[in-house]
Amino acid sequence: MISPSVYKQFKDIVGKPYISHDPEVCQAYTLRNRGFHGAEARLLGTVPACVLLPKTTEQVSAILQICYQHEIPYIPASTFWFTQAGPRAENCLFLDLKRMNELQVDSSALNATVGPGVTYAQLQAEALKHGLYTMVPGGGSQASVVANHLSWGFSPLTYRVGMANRRILAAEWVLPDGEVVGLGSLATGDDPFWGEGVGPDLRGLLRGSIGWMGSLGVVTKMCVRLFPFQPERLRSSGVSPETFLVLPTHRIRWYNFLCQDLKTLLEMMVEIGEAEIAAAVMRVPRMWRFIAKAESKEDFWEQWNRSNNKEPKDSSELLRVLLVGYTSTAQLEYEEKVLMAIAQKYGAVSRPAQQRDQSWIQSADSVSMWWVSGAFMSVTGQVDTIDCAAATSADMVKLKEQYTPPLVQDHQDPGWFQATDMGHGGYLEFLNYWDPRDSEEMIQLVDRYYHLDGPKCLVQRGALSFFIQTNSPLSLDGPHFGPHYDHWTRKVKEMLDPKGLSNPPGILDAIDQVIERAPWLKKHKDW
């Protein structure tokens, strides 16, 4: 319960229309149990005591000062999608930041300054007007630009523009006690154009390990890098659900190649990077190919089952490459020649590719992941080397077999691979689907796979996943990574949030608490 006098203080800050403690309103701000936070939602999830919609940094600061004074826990959330948003502590405030939606593109300085309520779809659309672009993350274009930059925002376009957290310039950060800190050029002025500033670079602290997921105050403004794109307009076309951008094919083209096996595909991926060509390079999980073609869930399953029952099994692998003539058509033509030469070398067969973009430039069809069975989560999303990605994938395929069912049978699909940083790195995301209406016993097996055996597998391989904070107990992975990244994580947290008010239990203890409360998990805890 928030006391009436404190509630009034909050109301005075944000204004009456932007605060509510009505249970019917608060009910909307709860965790879902259809994926990444399934067990958390069932075991820790609760309804917030109050929802606030601040508009300015000053309001956020004033709210956090009151929270600090009265020891009121809070959870900040921007677009409330795909994050740890959703309270897991009683009597929690929910800070819905959607009204903080300032967006300004500085085309000469190649950056945009955004509030936490701005989505990638909005930013990308504004950037494209200026001949600039950013990436739209795998999480979807409805993800908050700020929230996603605070973690490891990632998508095929990251191949050229790098991971999101490396694109942060200046930022405005309200610490858990309400103090406002300016990072980069905002430390000494009001132009957020630059990430460097006086004193130590706090951006690393802000990012933490893989983002704090709202556990270390609130970032209220951020300047992010944009990159020069090709100048042609991408025309929106089609009617839902078949909507797409029409590509100007003299400047942008998608290419599909069938490779004989995963090894060939990955080698080709590396060589494309070494040739310093392309805008995106990815292996498309087999299931996605069926999702893209299906007209409904039922249609998907019919096609999917038919294909999997067919003999001989199709073991081919699909490599998808995006080429962009950033500077000219000649660039595209040159890159195409290089790409075709690489494909020929590896015996990859060119397949037709529609010259339109449904996903990745302005949209990201991540939501389709929930379409297959109603529940989805990735047990790893890692940025390391291609070799590490391949090895982890092999481990995970073996582990998954033990848990299929309840996991949906995907016939040893190795997952979603991408080349990153022009081939310097390799990305793996290992995808899992299951039926959320399955029996309790089966759901508990999913929990075990996701929170115990999956993380153990990653620890053993030394693969650091950015989903570590949604699925792995800190007490399990902390000693292995860093080592003891759990120690310094706690120290930072204790230093800046000594009262533990920012999104408790946040990234520190949520999964450990899940395991403690779930007998079906606790009995397997062996560390």
Partner: protein, 429 residues
């Protein structure tokens, strides 16, 4: 009406993954920071509870017995235009039916005696007592018929005028019959036309809406008509979608075909049967009425069950808003010399409601005005000189919004422009 009970849509409420596609315009069509929200309710009230995402959680809590339909819940349920923008957004990537949940919530509210809100209850009484939503005497309905116009007593086509054009925006009905006369299309009016029942259905008064549907269908049959022609998008959707839905029958099995004026005219245009006179020099933005666009696809009942992974058996047919009436009005506007058609940022299935839908205009006029202003600003920013729609309620919304801002923008129903282009003189508004 078991098939419209909230319990039937538990799966849809449970399986929302929280992606917020119900709120945002399809990202492919997002054109920047502005005009990227498709849900009027969320745009106005800001809290997530005022979106399909929040209402689905509310529905689930009601189904689970952890929440009752309180006064606040009633506000959340009815402060929604039932415009279907959420439904189309959701179905771009998922196979859920959020709109059915929203409708079922209202039906449940009424069934439990908690709803509808007083203004809608009054509206229902007016329809019951007078046969029209304005509570005006029935005799006045024919007063709009222009001099010299004589509909047939009996024809294959029955022009269903609707409450709004009968009692308020007469110019739409007048333009429509003048167009029909000019084109030599034989039509009749229903002798004692009653409200289509749209206000009853959106109020959640499903039983009363069903009774009215049966009466209207019977009257149509008595009149010997097999085509119901409407110039009102709400009437159109009611005949085409809601009657079959209430009767639990497919649209294709209904003993009539619902046709909107723009469909009829676009069909003639395609066959070379429309000859427009002199030019109308104007930049116009077309506003897609929800009930003519994304909500107008045929209804097909589904009585199957769900198996593993939520698979439906038999396969459930989905209405994704793909086949709404989007092209026909645009074809007509484009065919009129001098008219320059501007597409708004939120267009076709992504269009923002004018604000009037779902009973909002009657219960929450301030909310309706807010949404109309938002849409009007979108039109103004597009550089259009006029906004054109194909529904009298949209026309009302825009006219009020224009009046309150004092902007010089004009608002037309498409029947006005077509009659002007065909007949060479403007029908008085």
């Amino acid at each position: 009406m078991d098939h419209l009970r909230l319990e039937r849509f538990r799966w849809d409420a449970e399986n929302c993954c929280g992606c917020k596609s119900c709120i945002w315009v399809d990202p492919i069509y997002v054109q920047g920071k502005d005009y990227s929200i498709r849900c009027p309710s969320l745009q106005r009230f800001k809290f997530d509870s005022y979106s399909a995402l929040g209402r689905l959680k509310l529905a689930l809590a009601i189904l689970n017995g952890s929440m009752k339909i309180t006064e606040k819940a009633l506000d959340i349920i009815y402060q929604c235009n039932l415009c279907g923008a959420c439904d189309t957004g959701c179905k771009r990537n998922l196979d859920l039916d959020p709109l059915m949940v929203l409708e079922a919530l209202r039906i449940r509210a009424v069934a439990q005696g908690a709803g509808p809100p007083p203004a809608l209850a009054q509206l229902i009484r007016r329809v019951r007592d007078t046969g029209n939503r304005f509570g005006l005497k029935r005799a006045k309905s024919a007063a709009w018929i222009p001099e010299g116009i004589k509909p047939s007593n009996r024809a294959k086509i029955a022009y269903f005028v609707g409450c709004n054009a009968s009692y308020k925006n007469n110019s739409i009905a007048q333009a429509t019959v003048k167009i029909l006369e000019h084109l030599g299309i034989e039509y009749a009016l229903m002798e004692e036309e009653s409200c289509c029942g749209h206000p009853l259905f959106v109020s959640g008064a499903a039983s009363e809406a069903l009774a009215l549907a049966k009466t209207n269908i019977e009257m149509l049959s008595d009149a010997g008509a097999s085509i119901v022609l409407t110039s009102c998008a709400e009437c159109y959707k009611t005949w085409k979608v809601d009657y079959p839905k209430l009767l639990d029958k497919p649209t294709s099995d209904m003993p009539y075909k619902a046709v909107h004026l723009v469909e009829l005219l676009a069909g003639l245009l395609a066959k070379g049967g429309l000859r427009f006179r002199g030019p109308i020099e104007m930049k116009v933005a077309y506003h897609d009425p929800c009930c003519l666009g994304r909500l107008s696809e045929d209804w097909t009942p589904w009585h199957g069950s769900r198996g593993p992974n939520g698979l439906t058996q038999p396969p459930k047919p989905y209405r994704r808003g793909t086949n709404g009436i989007y092209q026909q009005p645009r074809q007509l506007i484009s065919a009129i010399e001098g008219l320059e058609l501007i597409d708004l940022p939120r267009t076709r299935e992504n269009a923002l409601c004018c604000g009037a839908g779902g009973g909002v205009l009657d219960v929450y006029p301030e909310f309706a005005a807010f949404t109309a202003q938002d849409r009007l600003q979108e039109v103004i920013d597009s550089g259009a000189q006029a906004v054109v729609s194909a529904c009298p309620y949209c026309l009302d919304s825009f006219q009020v919004a224009i009046q309150s801002t004092g902007h010089l923008l004009k608002a037309y129903d498409i029947s006005h422009l077509v009659s002007l282009a065909l007949l060479g003189h403007e029908v008085a508004q």
